[in-house]
């Protein structure tokens, strides 16, 4: 088991390194000169050269890369070309917002998927089950941003119950923080919930056919009790796997939802940085996102090894 975990760790590290090179190269070849964008119209050639030197983008790419990686490894992401601020703290700040959004979206998705998925499975031969299945099909087809726009129209513009966007830090005002999080979390979570409902349904359907449920019922448990005591735990294993995979999709969805709800998260930071050719910031954000995705995969892998006895001997 230890060998397998070590091997996975090595793969994780190498992937991260490879990703950093890809991220660096792709941002470096983006058309447009960051110095020119920072200086704006009428920049003189001397000023351009001076600014390029100040940014360090007149040096060879390899030097720039090594310098950047050296900094990142010690937690220093450099200074933004545009805001002239340290990128690291800003990244942490924005990551916090995105994590809240993704976490809340995940929670909404699970709260939708488990009851409806189980319902659709248990009643798969009845009308109510078919309705749930059809609804989840519809939910999958709705993009998160559309869900967001509709929610804003109804709950913010028409009813004025909730804010149409903006962010309040939880420490500053927890009530306002939650009010602001509801609509973004719903627009992100409803779509994910619809996807997840289908997995829960098929997973529960599989479990319903298992022998141990029949045994449980023959001991005198009601069908519902049997499912809750013995079935759901087993049905959860594949669902958790899917949940892990969905996390990356949620991150992408969060980028769009941040735009709709004007949330100062990583996604909106990335869009701003790309249009301003703030390359160092772009590199930092993309690296954090890629590292996040790789980390999720790595953790899922390791968890399997720990949880699944069959894998313990494997390499």
């Amino acid at each position: 088991m230890t060998a397998r975990i070590l091997r996975r760790t090595a793969i994780f590290a190498v992937s991260l390194l490879a990703a950093s090179i890809v991220v660096f190269v792709f941002t470096a070849v983006l058309p447009g000169d960051p110095a020119q964008v920072a200086l704006g119209v009428n920049a003189t050639p001397e000023l351009l050269a001076q600014t390029r030197a100040e940014f360090g983008i007149d040096r060879p790419l390899v030097t720039q890369y090594l310098d950047w990686m050296g900094g990142v490894l010690t937690g220093d992401f450099g200074r933004s070309y545009v805001t002239r601020d340290a990128i690291g703290p800003q990244l942490a700040d924005r990551l916090g917002v995105t994590l809240w959004l993704v976490g809340a979206g995940m929670l909404v998705a699970v709260l939708i998927a488990i009851p409806f998925g189980v319902l659709a499975a248990v009643r798969h031969r009845r009308a109510s089950g078919t309705v749930v299945s059809a609804a989840s099909q519809l939910g999958i087809a709705v993009p998160a941003f559309l869900a967001g726009i509709l929610l804003v129209q109804v709950f913010a513009v028409r009813l004025q119950w909730l804010p149409s966007g903006g962010w309040t830090p939880p420490i500053q005002d927890p009530g306002e923080f939650l009010r602001g999080l509801i609509l973004p979390a719903l627009s992100l979570g409803v779509v994910q919930g619809a996807v997840l409902t289908r997995y829960v349904r098929s997973s529960v359907l599989d479990v319903l056919g298992e022998d141990y449920l029949r045994t449980a019922r023959s001991k005198g448990l009601m069908p519902g009790q049997a499912l809750i005591r013995h079935g759901l735990r087993n049905a959860a294993v594949p669902v958790v796997t899917v949940l892990g995979l969905q996390l990356t999709t949620l991150l992408v969805g969060a980028v769009v939802v941040e735009r709709v709800f004007v949330l100062p998260g990583l996604g909106s930071m990335l869009l701003d940085a790309v249009s301003a050719r703030d390359l160092l910031t772009v590199q930092g954000i993309v690296l954090v996102l890629v590292a996040g995705a790789l980390l999720v995969n790595f953790l899922v892998d390791v968890l399997y090894t720990v949880l699944d006895p069959k894998l313990r001997g494997a390499r």
């Binding site: 119209v41 149409s164 966007g165 830090p169 909106s268 249009s275 301003a276």
Partner: protein, 497 residues
Amino acid sequence: MKARLLAAALALLLVASGCSAGSSAFVPDDGSTLAVGFAAEPQNFDFTRTDGAAIPQALLYNVYEGLVKLDDQGRVVPLLADSWTVSPDRLVYDFALKPGVLFSNGTEFTAEDVRFSINRVKTDWTISIKSKMDVVDRVEVLDPLHARVVLTKPSNAWLFDMASRVGAMFTPTGIEDLANKPVGTGPYEVTSRRRGDSIVLQANRRYRGPEPTYRTVYLKYYKDPTALNNALLSNGIDVIGTITAPDSIPQFEADSRFNVVQGTTNSEVVLAFNNKKEPLNDVRVRRALTLAIDRKALLATAWAGRGTLIGSMVPPTDPWYEDLSGAYPHDPAQARALLAEAGKPQLNLRLRIPNLPYAISSAQVVQSQLAEVGVTVTIEPLDFPAVWLKQVFTDHDYDLSIIQHVEARDITTFGRPSFYWGYDSKKAQDLLARADRGTPEEQVTAMREVARTLSDDAAADWLFLFPNVVAAKKKVTGIVRNQVSESFDLTTLGRSE
């Protein structure tokens, strides 16, 4: 183990979101607080080293003040200077300063600060508009409340420019961290900011004048025009600084909760011709293209008919404005005749535009109307600002382009042959020089002549002037109709009970 993991994750989140300074989506609904929504966010607070309109929009006249300011008619009026005199040779400006003015860090404002601020533009500023101070020879301190500025040559533009960000007054004790901590003499100071969300201004306790009506002002930023509109509709903000989606204006006009104010700006949307390059170096071709485009129809498509038609690079708030919009009436037949005369009955032109909504919708109209006179236009949207700046603006690699020119009195760019217009006219250059050094009356006459010359030469096609459309809750009064300065001036705002 699961519970512990969850607890750790939550703790991490709290830490991550805790390190952010205050500011909020939530704006308290009391009488002394105002929230204004904008589309473009300042990248930092240092307009001496970072270009763009968003920083002066937020800070000028509100946090930073100059010796003079512009009123909404475009007139230069006193601000930190009580009055000034100009020598007969128009080289020496003597300013009498307001007494008892304090910076927000407590330092007193004196003539020394005038010298420091003006000199600093030449030495420390890195953005291109610093060249507006090139004409200054020296600044003398006559006494703490009198400053004298000596120019190398007479310049009308200089005093006008002093009302813009280059004229902002700084104190040597307040420039440590311009990007984060602005120190000015204005009625407000910056108390907090959240990137990607908002900036909070509070009334400056040391301000010389009466406390502003709104003690706290939230400047909130929305990249997406729909989100900006929704914020006003759902009471998230009180004012939309400038509406960027014209289709939404009727919605606010029809709603009794709001007032909509429409005025002009300095922002000309120009169809640029590459004057240096075949075939647009031929005035007949440029005139033909100008005749072929129905600007009224274009304005209807691109900005819901809300802008102003102008015929040269002059907005109605400049003293030398005259309506030249009728100089080239829409006349496809004459356009075809002119093109034939120039020996170019069939043309293929590249229209390279920034990927911005107004440019894209304008470009499509230009394309279809030029097609009617035998000109095939290929639209190439370029990533703005990065790619457009590099390829069109710097490398002059284009035939036609469409972009808004937002700077005040930027008609002077037609006096620079190296500018991306490629327009090289001795007559226009001489007139511009004469206008700058003459008396204000001579300036008006000469500038009017420049505008006519540009129109005559069809140096560009001025498609329309961007309107300034502000939507606000009924309680907010005193909104400036015309956007002529760089500032979103909060000092004029009041409250109706």
